[in-house]
Structures are given as structure tokens and as C-alpha cells.
């Protein structure tokens, strides 16, 4: 019995460690702002305080607009980044893996290099480019710089490399051209990997903070992450219950995506799925 007791104890401890802050947010969101400010958060949610969710969703709070709008902006941005990255990196990985052309490896290494230069590192130049393209305060400016990245290309390349050469040759004998091969063989075979990547990229896009903060000053483009920060006032009294309610709301979509796609996610990361 003790052999199983200790692992369970460790697990329970870890779960508490991870779940407690979230629970505090859930419980705190239903309580009175002044009580929270005094540091007296009860761990029992107050059912009568649930109205705060309706409140933040529809009206927001002092510093920020309604949360439903911010959620839409976040969702739009995360989806655009996830789909954009997949749409961009799938063909580029395909080209780098299956075609022989001059400077193929140079192209690959240039793509690889961008891995070491995430947006945070090239913040100023990227901002300058966006500004001269007049893309500040636009959805395009919000998403495009985050779409161009090497992670997805690298992952797809690794997946494609596991496809046996004979599969490519069989398709050639069957008369499948490059685009047909991509559509009929490569994409279906890498389905699990695409799904796994989608999950990662969605969460990545959803959690963006620094770039949206910089490139979109118009409240119209406030993501929910930005919204939370704006709610925390510097000189006004912060409505902590609203902040926590927003945080809980912000948590739901990425969790839902992971939850819905976890089967594919695990499969795509663990199996070669040839």
C-alpha cells in the first residue's frame, strides 16, 4: 500500500499546487472587491457574486471595455496566428523537404535562424516595419509578425522526413504531381501533427502580450490579456473581483481547445503516425 501511497500523495500535492491559484481566482471573482483588497479571500465561492461574470462580459470595468469584445479579438488573433502559421509553414516545409533547388539548405537555415529571433527580440525593428507599412492599430499588424516563425516549419519538416522515400516514389508512379501529393498523401498522413501544432499555436497566440500592447493602442484591438492588465488601475481602486472573473474567462478558450483536441495532440506528439 505504501508503494502506491507516496506517488499518490505527490500527485495530489502537485494538483493542489497547480489548481489552487485557479481556484482562488474562481472563488475570488465572486467576492467583494474590498474584501479581496484586504487579502481576505475566502476559498468558498459566493453564489450571489456570480453576476460579476455577466457584468464584465457585457460592460467591462473602469479601465477596460467589455470582455466579450476582448475575447473576440483574442480568439480572432489566436486563430489567425494558428491557421496562418500552418498555412505558411506547411508549404515551406514541403518545399524544403521534397524538392531539390539551388540554396535549399540556405533557405532552410535562414528559416531556422528566425527561431532564435522571436518577436520580443526584434520588437523595435518589427514595429518600425509595421509603422512604415501603416499597419499600426490594425488586425493585420497584430497578427502578421507573429505568423512568420520557424517552429512550425521545423516540426513539419521533421514529420515529412519520416515519410519513406518509397511512398513518394509510389505516388510518382501513380501519376500524382507535387500538389496532389501534398493534398492526398502528405497532409492526411500528417493530420495528427497538424492538430497538435494547432493546439500549441493557438495557446501561443492567445497568450501574446507584449506585441499587442505595442502595436495596437486603440482599445478596439485590446485582447483579453491586455484587458486584464488595463483593469488593474494604478491610482484608482482596482475591482479585483472583476479582474479575477476576466482571468477565469480568459482561461476557458485555450483550455477548451486543449481539451477538445487532446486525443490528436498526444497522438501527434508521440506517434510518428506513418
Amino acid at each position: 500500500m505504501t508503494g502506491r501511497l507516496i506517488p499518490h500523495a505527490v500527485l495530489v500535492l502537485a494538483i493542489l499546487l497547480f489548481a489552487l491559484p485557479i481556484w482562488i481566482a474562481v472563488a475570488g471573482s465572486t467576492q467583494d472587491s474590498a474584501v479581496i483588497a484586504r487579502g481576505e479571500i475566502s476559498l468558498i465561492p459566493r453564489l450571489s457574486g456570480l453576476g460579476v461574470y455577466r457584468d464584465v462580459l457585457l460592460h467591462g470595468s473602469a479601465g477596460a471595455g467589455p470582455v466579450w469584445h476582448a475575447l473576440m479579438v483574442s480568439a480572432g488573433m489566436a486563430l489567425a496566428i494558428a491557421f496562418g502559421k500552418i498555412a505558411l509553414s506547411l508549404p515551406s516545409a514541403y518545399a524544403v523537404t521534397f524538392f531539390r533547388f539551388p540554396f535549399r539548405m540556405t533557405a532552410f537555415w535562414l528559416i531556422f535562424l528566425t527561431l532564435m529571433l522571436p518577436v520580443e527580440v526584434r520588437l523595435i525593428p518589427t514595429f518600425q516595419v509595421m509603422s512604415s507599412l501603416d499597419l499600426i492599430n490594425s488586425f493585420t499588424g497584430l497578427t502578421i509578425p507573429l505568423i512568420a516563425s520557424a517552429t512550425a516549419t521545423l516540426l513539419f519538416r521533421q514529420t515529412f522526413l519520416t515519410l519513406p522515400d518509397e511512398l513518394v516514389e509510389a505516388a510518382r508512379m501513380d501519376g500524382a504531381g507535387p500538389l496532389r501529393f501534398l493534398r492526398d498523401i502528405v497532409i492526411p498522413v500528417s493530420g495528427a501533427n497538424i492538430a497538435a501544432l494547432f493546439v500549441i499555436l493557438f495557446v501561443y497566440g492567445w497568450n501574446q502580450y507584449l506585441w499587442p500592447l505595442l502595436v495596437a493602442t486603440d482599445p478596439k484591438y485590446d485582447t483579453v490579456v491586455i484587458g486584464i492588465v488595463k483593469m488593474i488601475g494604478v491610482d484608482t481602486a482596482t475591482e479585483w473581483n472583476k479582474v479575477m472573473a476576466t482571468a477565469v474567462l480568459a482561461l476557458i478558450p485555450p483550455v477548451a481547445v486543449v481539451f477538445l483536441m487532446q486525443h490528436w495532440f498526444v497522438k501527434g506528439l508521440t506517434e510518428g503516425d506513418k
Binding site: E166, A171, M173, D174, G175, A176, D184, I185, V189, G191
Partner: protein
């Protein structure tokens, strides 16, 4: 008429010459097996015919039409790969139908062709399955079905049986042979397995280091190997090759200090010529008055036994006998003259006014 002609086919990868000139003509409906050790260029030859590689020089003609510069799909060829290369996400039906779909055949015609092929191969019950739900032999059949439905001018087989276990291999070998006979499609079959080569081919092409060494029927290759390479490669256990010197007007060979008499005037070469005497293990006979060989190892194979003997350090001999007497340390054997092959020691080529085992160059 769907013949295949290869004219002066060369292939180099960088500075390495893989194929050093291959000329070959296949008659309609013929099954030619290309056999050789790995690295001899046999797979490259097949890939050139398939169009998966481009020849450095030479021409490929199918049915009299020059296809050298054509894309694989335009050559009207079907290929069976070693690891089957089935599309993992498609059902058996879709695997077979894919090539036809691309060619734009109507659905009903595709259905009919796939049904016909699957009936031929006994795959009817498996059409909805995915490749991973099939056994090795079944996958192999699907790969063949994919080739058959296309109704190609030429079948190419690239070591299709090497991923199967021994028992299945024998069974599939028979199936391939029956199918090929029945469909009468000209076929090129590459293997490193000499048993496959002997049993499947109408003719064999033995390749060695990028050069075709012998092109003949399996019987001819076995009975009149063109050189020491073919002699050692075809036949199991391998032919004994003993260095010696020709003497007595070509009627005797001295091997390891002992003179072995040969039937008169079978071998035309000057006395004192350095030769290699070849004799198959099953042709060596026990003879109390014969040459003595110290025994090294005796291997029992059930009904037969292999005796490995060595004399004078370098000359080693393998003898296959049907359950012999109790083995002593030394056996005495003789080499019946009609089973003796002689090869030139310098060139390795067959010496003799032999039968038709003439190399194709």
C-alpha cells in the same frame, strides 16, 4: 507487344559510376530477374527503367518508344516496392484505386478494375481495411493489386519479398509467378536472393559491380556460369573454387600439389596456365583412391551433410553428401570430369568450349 530495350545505359552519382553500360532486350511477356549482391547496380537499373532516376547515358525503350526523358507516370509502368509503400491513410480499395483516380477514370470503371484485381489476389474481404490492419503477406498483395489495376506495359519488382518471413516468401514467390504467367505482362524483377532468381525468372541477368556478367536461362547460368563470380554466387552452398595449374595438354589440373585428371580436350588453354577449378559441393564424390582432404567441420542438414575440408592452408573444399559414413579426420574424394568447370585465374572468365553460357557483352 510490350517489349523493353535498354541501350548502353550508364548511371553515375557524382564520381561514382554505378552502371557501366547495360544493354538488354526483353521479349513480350517475359520475366527477367536481375540478381546480384547489394551494390551491384541492380536497383539503380530498375529505378532508371521506372523513371525515378535519369540515366547519365543510354536509352530506354518500351514497346519501341523512347521513354528515357519521360516522367514515371507517362511510361505506363507499375512498380512493387520492397516495403510495399502503401498509402497509410487510405483503405485497400483507395490504395489500388488512387492511380486510376488520378488518370481520371470514371468511378464505375475504377470499381470494376479494383474488384477484378482483388478477386485475383483474394483481397475482396479486405477492401475497407487500412494497411496497418493487414499482415505482411496481405500488404504485399495489395501492393501487387495496385500494380495490376493499372494494366501497365511493364511490371517492376524491387525485392518485393525481402520483408516477409521465409514461409510466406515461398508462398508469395509462387503467387507472383502464377500471376505473371497469367497476366503475361513483361516484368523486371530485382532480387539478391538466388533462389528467387532461379525459380522466378524466364531468364536471369547476373550483375556484378555495375556490369552485367551473364544473361541466360536459370539452367544455363547454373550449369555454365560465365565466370568465377557467377559460379560462386549462384548455387547453395557455393561452388568450390580451387586455384590450380593446367597440364598434360589440357587433360589435368594440379590443385594443392595433387594432379587431377580431366577428360581429354575439354579445356583449350596452354599447359602451365593458371586456372581456377570449379566444382559444386554436390558433385564431389567420395572415392577411396581419390585426393585426400583433412576435414575441418561437418554440418548436418538433416538428410544431407556438409563437410568442410582444407588443404595446404588456402585451398578449402565443401562437400555435400547424403548421410555419409562415420567421418574420419581425412576424406578422400575425386572430381568427376563432366562436372568440372575451369576458369582463367587472371580474368575469372570461363575457359571451355562450353555450352551457351556466353556473357552478353
Amino acid at each position: 507487344m510490350a517489349g523493353l530495350r535498354l541501350e548502353g545505359l550508364h548511371k553515375s552519382f557524382g564520381a561514382i559510376e554505378i552502371l557501366k553500360g547495360v544493354d538488354l532486350a526483353l521479349a513480350d511477356g517475359e520475366m527477367l530477374v536481375i540478381v546480384g549482391a547489394s551494390g551491384c547496380g541492380k536497383s539503380t537499373l530498375l529505378r532508371l527503367v521506372a523513371g525515378l532516376e535519369t540515366p547519365t547515358a543510354g536509352r530506354i525503350l518500351i514497346d519501341g518508344r523512347d521513354v528515357t526523358g519521360l516522367d514515371p507516370s507517362a511510361r505506363d509502368i507499375a512498380m512493387v516496392f520492397q516495403n510495399y509503400a502503401l498509402y497509410p491513410h487510405m483503405s485497400v480499395f483507395d490504395n489500388m484505386a488512387y492511380g486510376l483516380k488520378i488518370r481520371g477514370l470514371p468511378r464505375a470503371a475504377i470499381r470494376a478494375k479494383v474488384d477484378e484485381a482483388s478477386a485475383l489476389l483474394g483481397l475482396e474481404a479486405l477492401l475497407e481495411r487500412k494497411p496497418r490492419q493487414l499482415s505482411g503477406g496481405q500488404r504485399q498483395r495489395v501492393a501487387m493489386g495496385r500494380a495490376i489495376v493499372r494494366d501497365p506495359k511493364l511490371f517492376l519488382f524491387d525485392e518485393p519479398l525481402s520483408n516477409l518471413d521465409a514461409k510466406l516468401r515461398v508462398q508469395m514467390r509462387g503467387e507472383i509467378r502464377r500471376l505473371q504467367r497469367r497476366l503475361k505482362v513483361t516484368s523486371l524483377y530485382v532480387t539478391h536472393d538466388q533462389v528467387e532468381a532461379m525459380t522466378l525468372g524466364d531468364r536471369l541477368l547476373v550483375m556484378h559491380q555495375g556490369v552485367p556478367v551473364q544473361l541466360a536461362t536459370p539452367t544455363e547460368v547454373f550449369e555454365y556460369p560465365a565466370d568465377t563470380y557467377v559460379a560462386g554466387f549462384i548455387g547453395s552452398p557455393a561452388m568450390n573454387l580451387l586455384p590450380g595449374v593446367l597440364g598434360r595438354n589440357g587433360t589435368a589440373v594440379t590443385v594443392a600439389g595433387t594432379e587431377i585428371a580431366l577428360a581429354p580436350s575439354r579445356f583449350a588453354a596452354p599447359d602451365g596456365h593458371a586456372v581456377i577449378l570449379g566444382i559444386r559441393p554436390e558433385h564431389v564424390v567420395l572415392d577411396p583412391s581419390g585426393m585426400s582432404w583433412p576435414v575441418e567441420i561437418v554440418e548436418l542438414l538433416g538428410s544431407e551433410m556438409l563437410v568442410h575440408a582444407r588443404r595446404g592452408g588456402e585451398a578449402s573444399l565443401t562437400i555435400k553428401i547424403v548421410h555419409g559414413p562415420a567421418m574420419s579426420d581425412v576424406i578422400r574424394v575425386s572430381f568427376p570430369s563432366e562436372h568440372v568447370h575451369l576458369f582463367d585465374q587472371a580474368t575469372g572468365l570461363r575457359l571451355t568450349p562450353a555450352g551457351s553460357g556466353v556473357p552478353p557483352s
